[in-house]
Symmetry: none
Subunit: 414 residues, 2 copies
């Protein structure tokens, strides 16, 4: 397997002015393609530091991909340094020159003559990949059995070059296949997952199994390595079966693109069910999460955020006595929120949340005490949770657990 290092060049990334989404995108693509990545690095617009970074990176890796610093201005140093490091001259490339002239004509910007044409200076002997979203092409320099690739920084330009030639070029360098699969678990902590799977994880190097803790969830990433994708998928099927036999009850999907909310929306669409939500503690985050799924509008009827007690009584018809007797942060109130919303909207499934996210105690109830209710065709079930963390974390945990509780309940009936 060939190793690749990703080097981001630019003071803006270094100082935290922009989020490095390019490295995330390329790293994911490259690891899915079966390349090994040992390091990412970010370095500012400084000639000497870029040079040191490129020399070290080429020594330690088969392939180095730089991002950024290909523009025409003085602080764009990548091509200059790359030429020096690989012992070749920079020369005006006629094809790139024509592309730049055409690009400026089409976007109706005046071309700043020689200045703008710095972008057309290319290390001699490079292979080029065209950039339809900008002026700087992708540059491939093959040198001493190593490959140095230069990509522009704007994400739309980088992606265009990647998808229109660069990815294909890299596939041609590859000798093995690698396939990954992600199992997503909810309702169990990372430590317990690892304990239960200890023997499998420990005795296993192909596929490898890597557990990742998310807020309220654990994801297991399985990565297999083989001659071709069929061989990889066979290896993955075998290990997935083993894992399923141990923690299967917590696994809600093996599709990396599925989420708790997308499963709920899909289940509702398939079974012609409608969905409404009544939130107190989550303040809109649960509705936002659900309505963010494309096509949510086909099943999501109404959300109501009864933040004030008054709103619970007037808009949702919760009995005043219940609030006075048990408080809003109670199983009884949560039960009635789900039930009254069902009565009011005639929705098949309603979800309710109430609790204390802090920072201060309310109704003498502890910070982190949360109730989640699900009403399915008039039958209500309520669960109590005790979460620990900041206001944000408690809200997020409430949303994840409400979604999982809803998913389980819907799957039980449909």
């Amino acid at each position: 397997m060939k190793s690749v290092k990703i080097v981001s060049i630019g003071t803006e990334v270094l100082m935290g002015n922009i989020l490095n989404t390019n490295t995330y995108y390329l790293a994911n693509e490259l690891s899915m393609m079966g390349f090994v990545i040992y390091h990412h690095e970010t370095v500012g617009d400084n000639r000497q530091r870029i040079e040191n970074t490129l020399i070290n990176s080429l020594n330690e890796n088969d392939i180095v991909i730089t991002i950024g610093g290909l523009g025409p201005t003085e602080d764009d140093l990548t091509k200059e340094v790359a030429s020096k490091v690989t012992n070749r001259k920079l020369e005006l490339n006629e094809d790139v020159k024509k592309h730049i002239e055409k690009y400026f004509l089409e976007t109706k910007k005046a071309c700043k003559s020689t200045y703008e044409m710095n972008t057309a200076l290319i290390p001699v002997g490079s292979k080029l990949i065209e950039n339809a979203n900008g002026t700087a092409p992708g540059i491939i320099i093959e040198y001493n059995n190593k490959v140095l690739i230069l990509l522009p920084g704007p994400p739309l330009e980088l992606k265009y070059i990647w998808e229109n030639g660069m990815k294909e070029y890299l596939i041609s360098l590859n000798d093995t296949a690698i396939v990954s699969r992600t199992l997503k678990l909810c309702g169990i902590g990372e430590t317990l997952v690892e304990e239960k799977l200890f023997d499998i994880i420990d005795n296993q190097n192909n596929p490898t199994i890597a557990p990742y803790a998310k807020t309220g969830q654990v994801h297991l990433r399985l990565t297999a390595n083989g001659k071709n994708t069929i061989e990889c998928n066979n290896l993955l099927d075998t290990i997935e079966q083993k894992i399923n036999s141990i923690v299967g009850e917590y696994i809600y999907t093996n599709d990396v693109n599925e989420t708790l909310e997308s499963i709920i929306i899909k289940k509702c669409i398939d079974n012609k069910l409608t969905l409404s939500v009544c939130e107190s503690i989550t303040g809109g985050l649960l509705s936002h999460t659900l309505t963010n799924v494309p096509n949510a509008s086909k099943v999501f009827k109404e959300g109501i955020i009864t933040y004030a007690n008054e709103s619970k009584v007037n808009s949702l018809n919760i009995n005043k006595d219940i609030i006075e007797k048990y408080g809003c942060i109670s199983s009884e109130c949560c039960y009635n929120m789900a039930l009254e919303l069902y009565k009011k909207t005639s929705t098949n499934i309603t979800i309710s949340t109430t609790g204390n996210a802090g920072p201060d105690g309310m109704e003498r109830k502890k910070v982190g005490l949360v109730y989640i209710g699900i009403c399915i065709n008039g039958k209500v079930d309520v669960k109590e949770f005790n979460f620990v963390g900041t206001r944000d974390k408690i809200k997020e945990l409430t949303v994840v657990n409400a979604l999982n509780f809803a998913r389980e309940t819907i799957c039980k009936f449909y």
Copy 2:
């Protein structure tokens, strides 16, 4: 000025499974505080490579901050390697042990004895910063006039530690004074801001002026450099006055901690006003943004997400004829959403949103067409917007503009 390097440790970042938002956050904080950053690096869960990275990083920088690898499992190697590199032992820390026991007790998870207690193994002589959102504390190792700082990877834990002691510790290491101030603008684009301020930005190196485009907003970060904070603040006052005279009408705060939503909530508390929200296009995101402000419960009465037309008619009493004649994505519908919510809840201020976030057209209305309504004591005002972008971006732009419209309206009357 002291130099800092940020080192992310973890195969999931390396392979592009998670976006490195931690480095972005820390880099931004550190450069605001006046530290110099020459490099970021990411390395996987591999003992030898982590060791090499730490040794090189400490050689070349005053301060090294690692992110990740502090958990209890076998692939969490950061503390082990950091101890080796700084020549000290790992020992069970009683305070951390107690914190972990308490944390697990509160979250009702059984503490898995010795295994989970790996998190309490701390390099001898370290300073610790507590983590209320998890088990692993922030660790400070002072070694040979250098500082090695270890932070956990989950963003909520990292931020908690940063804001509750780590930032303060780093400020104490700083030798010159650097003070930053952020002017936040809404209702004007980045290019226009730069054009209007071109002369000031170009002729200025202390304070420096850096414009950052946010979704629907522009932030101007002014950074002054001086002997002490008084000198810095005087420099900042002068430049802020100049900027105010040119784009003052768009500036809504010069306090980095203030947001559009926090200003609205404060204004409502100060003037004893109540607030309710009726959302269609934003699906809960507007209520979530407002209720995320601490103390929002003092003024926020009710949110209602009338996603289905039926819900607009039944729960909000919108006239069916209006929806049939103009559609839901119309100024008329938006007007009535704000008005009917006011009538129903007797809230001083109501905000309504309706529009098409895409991906497909609806009611033959263009993707990006959005209406926002504000009702203040019964008087409604509606604005039309045409946004460009993906579904997420259009929803975010709607929320930002709704907040700004509400802020402007409230400030006009109170």
